[in-house]
């Protein structure tokens, strides 16, 4: 059977369901020598904020059992430098580029998206459709992932993502600013992810991605201080995968838009759990640090599994959930 690995996210067609998660892949160039970036379904960039951010004090990362805790603090060169230096590089890539956007206020997010719309120019489904990017018509921005879930900054981030009213308002104002795919990235640091997911949908999001990291702390018993300079950080890696799968399972039953699953995916089996739980696509994050080719191996494994199950499309996977 011929497998069609493409996935639709709003107006955007991804060439396959496996992307690389924001914050784990820079702006693509860092891994260019180690793999064929064109085989990725999407690159979700490191967050872009209005102003440059130096990030948090060191130490910023510490390993945990089957995971890692980070407090990077959205370190990034800022909108202007992103447009001048990173956008031309992203335009050359033959994969879909989703720019992750973060901010301290609603106005910040809006200004970043408006400026990127202006810098990248008009977008049509043709320029983003699987395989067409990186060639004539590629704009370097095929969509936005709105980060309302970063646990490591003092303002914005997580504060937005835990309030349904704020998520809906922010999503609505960004929706009015772009025709590109609009994805809202949700935090698991809430009592119930469903109201937040519904708020993003009501605001006009094309998809939600979940989950961002879980707030955690490691204490060095020798120094009696937190291992990270900022105290708490965001937990990622295979330790959090069951939390992510549960969030995707709940959210995908509550909304009609696609859910992009991430959190601890190390291999195809992990990704398949997300797809069975209701995700339409996945992102590989921390695993890339462990094995730069983890996302590509995950894709190969998913396709092999689909062949074994006799499935033709990614969307068929979720339909198998609960059946033996």
């Amino acid at each position: 059977m011929n497998i069609d690995p493409r996935v639709r996210i709003g107006p955007l067609v991804l060439s396959n369901p496996v992307g690389v998660a924001s914050g784990t892949f820079g702006y693509g160039a860092e891994y260019e020598g180690l793999m064929d970036l064109g085989r990725l379904g999407a690159i979700y960039t490191k967050a872009v904020t209005l102003e440059a951010r130096a990030g948090n004090d060191a130490p910023r990362i510490v390993e945990t059992p089957a995971g890692m805790l980070n407090s990077i603090g959205l370190a990034n060169p800022g909108l202007e430098a992103f447009v001048a230096r990173k956008l031309p590089e992203l335009r050359r890539l033959s994969t879909s580029v989703i720019v992750n956007v973060a901010g301290s206020s609603e106005a910040d997010y809006l200004r970043v998206v408006e400026a990127l719309e202006e810098a990248a120019g008009p977008w049509s489904p043709r320029s983003g459709a699987g395989g067409a990017t990186g060639q004539e018509g590629a704009t370097g921005v095929d969509g936005y992932e709105i980060n309302v879930s970063c646990p490591n900054v003092a303002h914005g981030g997580l504060a937005f993502g835990t309030d349904p009213a704020q998520v809906e308002r922010l999503t609505r104002s960004l929706r009015a600013a772009t025709r590109r795919a609009l994805i809202v990235k949700l935090t698991p640091n809430v009592a119930d992810i469903v109201p937040i997911a519904k708020a993003a949908e009501a605001g006009g999001a094309d998809a939600i991605s979940c989950i961002n990291t879980l707030v955690g702390m490691v204490i060095d018993t020798r120094t009696k201080r937190p291992a990270l300079a900022r105290g708490t950080g965001g937990l990622s890696g295979p330790a959090i995968r069951p939390v992510g799968v549960a969030c995707v399972w709940k959210a995908s039953r509550a909304v009609g838009i696609p859910v992009i699953g991430l959190g601890g995916i190390m291999c195809a089996d992990d990704a398949l759990q997300y797809l069975l739980a209701g995700a339409s696509a996945v992102q590989v994050g921390t695993a890339t640090f462990v094995d730069p080719r983890a996302a590509l191996k995950t894709l190969e494994g998913i396709l092999a599994w689909m062949e074994g199950e006799g499935l033709a499309g990614i969307g068929d996977i979720g339909a198998l959930f609960g059946r033996s």
Binding site: L34, V62, P65, M68, I72, A75, P292
Partner: protein, 273 residues
């Protein structure tokens, strides 16, 4: 830079807690330079999860064209205990060479100063590699004088049998071998005057101290930092080191790990270990 499975050619103990790992190197990855590093995935299990960075301590090309790369490491935690148990013939997932190393021989020759190579603890590996590269490039002959190596350890039992070049000054905190005192004690009290050019690798407090001394003596200096990192290729922003003034950070993995004397706020390096 290349990711490949490297066969282990040797993994021998150099002193209690010290080991040397020698890997069959893939020539397509390029030749490593002193100060550059590799990362290893010591196990396919999920704990420990992350790759571990190690500085190159040696590199040899054999007459048949094959090459070998070595690292020195101390068995200190979960990952290095697993690494210590890997035997000859086993394969390990390697990514490298990574980072920016020490100034090369041509640059040092142009400066015309006398190389002063200072190592503390596990910083010994890259310093021995640098000494070997300078020796191979005949830098001692053309520079202001032969390179001097000063290496510090806690005590004589902590000194690895790593093949120190003749003339190496070893310092021990307790005086059980060589000079009694730290490398900083030696440099500030015993070092003969000269047109020195400092290159150092060691724990954060040692780097902070030698950076301060280098400024006071107006020595050019290149210092090799250690920092926790996740990716090793510039993507994760985890291995940040503060620049003086604290307004921004540099990444140990791609901006370094070798930095100039005044590039980093060595006293606030924070977390370097």
């Amino acid at each position: 830079m290349l990711q490949f499975d490297a066969q282990i050619l040797g993994n021998r103990e150099l002193a209690p807690g010290w080991k040397e790992l020698v890997l069959r190197w893939n020539g397509a990855a390029g030749h490593p330079h002193a100060g550059e590093f590799l990362t290893l995935r010591v196990s396919s299990a999920l704990d420990p999860l992350l790759r571990r960075p190690f500085a190159f301590a040696s590199f040899h090309e054999d007459p048949d064209g094959a090459s070998r790369a070595g690292i020195l490491y101390q068995v200190r935690g979960k990952a290095t205990r697993i690494l210590a148990d890997l035997g000859t013939g086993a394969f390990v997932d390697v990514l490298g060479p990574l980072g920016r190393g020490f100034p090369d021989a041509a640059q040092l020759e142009a400066e015309g100063s006398r190389p002063l190579l200072v190592a503390g603890g596990v910083g010994l590996g890259p310093i021995l590699f640098l000494a070997a590269q300078l020796e191979a490039a005949r830098i001692p002959a053309s520079a202001a004088g032969p390179a001097l190596i000063v290496a510090g350890f806690r005590n004589s039992a902590a000194i690895p049998r790593a093949g120190f070049p003749a003339g190496t000054v070893t310092c021990t905190d307790d005086g059980s071998s060589g000079y009694r005192g730290t490398v900083l004690d030696y440099l500030s009290r015993e070092l003969p005057p000269g047109n020195w050019r400092l290159m150092a690798c060691g724990p954060a407090p040692m780097l902070a101290a030698v950076a301060t001394l280098a400024r006071a003596r107006s020595w050019e200096a290149s210092l090799c930092a250690e920092q926790w990192m996740a990716c090793g290729v510039g993507a994760c922003m985890g291995c940040a080191l503060p620049v003086p003034g604290g307004a921004s950070f540099l990444r140990a993995c791609v901006d370094g790990p070798v930095f100039g004397r005044d590039d980093i706020d060595w006293g606030k390096e924070g977390g370097g270990r």
